[in-house]
Symmetry: C2
Subunit: 153 residues, 2 copies
């Protein structure tokens, strides 16, 4: 866990590392990653909050593992310099502030990874209510980043 966190911190801190491609690719991969994460968050939300009678433990575990693996995949490398402007699947909504408030960007990134990893654990061992609570903590980290660094639609 510690090594994963350190790697991700490094990936967030070092912009435009070896893994980064052209700006449009970084934005498109970023939009893809968060859409994929959103799909999995939606599945868990449906099964532990909106329609708990549909709760399927294996599906929730698989979705939580997908979120955690995506969170730990080095998404920071997709935030290279200049990627607050450009079109991936669509125009990016990343604010320039992301590159000015680097400590804050790092903090929200680490919080997201931490809560995603916690969700993967709770999905395996926790009750539906505990999963719901942990999903709320993960959502708070998403919202925190969106409020600070994403242009409102």
């Amino acid at each position: 866990m510690k090594s994963r966190l350190l790697f991700t911190v490094a990936a967030i801190a070092v912009s435009a590392a070896a893994l980064a491609g052209p700006i449009e690719d970084q934005i498109r991969f970023r939009q893809s990653a968060y859409s994929f994460i959103g799909w999995n968050v939606g599945k868990i939300k449906a099964q532990v909050a909106d329609k708990p009678d549909t709760y399927n433990k294996d599906q929730v575990i698989a979705a939580a593992r997908a979120i955690a693996a995506a969170a730990n995949s080095g998404l920071g490398a997709l935030y290279g310099a200049g990627t607050d402007k450009g079109v991936g699947w669509k125009q990016t909504r990343l604010k320039p502030e992301f590159f000015q408030q680097t400590d804050e960007a790092r903090t929200v990134g680490i919080a997201f990874i931490t809560e995603a990893n916690n969700l993967a654990k709770v999905a395996e061992t926790g009750s539906v209510d505990e999963i719901k609570t942990q999903l709320g903590k993960l959502n708070d980290t998403c919202k925190s980043c969106h409020d600070k660094f994403r242009i409102k639609e």
Copy 2:
């Protein structure tokens, strides 16, 4: 492993399950998931084939885990009836044959999951050459599905 495979087989077989949303959402999430997978495949390819001097074990493990978790996330639920027509991020390239050759679709889906899970294991324990070989096996399953079920650009 076995239970994961069974769940995924069920998800592929039962079209438009509880997890599926509107056709456009399914297509967009599908395109997002495979783009995210492609990004991670690209990172591994760069580090074990194109530029082996950049090989970073932690990064390759993280990418392989992301691919495996995505493969096991129940992507079959995003292949609901009617999703061979429609626009997600862009027009889908899924051929109608996917819904006619269900045994074959299931076979390629299982092959993809199997090789993705193997890649996650080899990334942790194998040599660069072994990871490269296993990545080739995974790529073969991608190509097999594309050749059968994806419209050429």
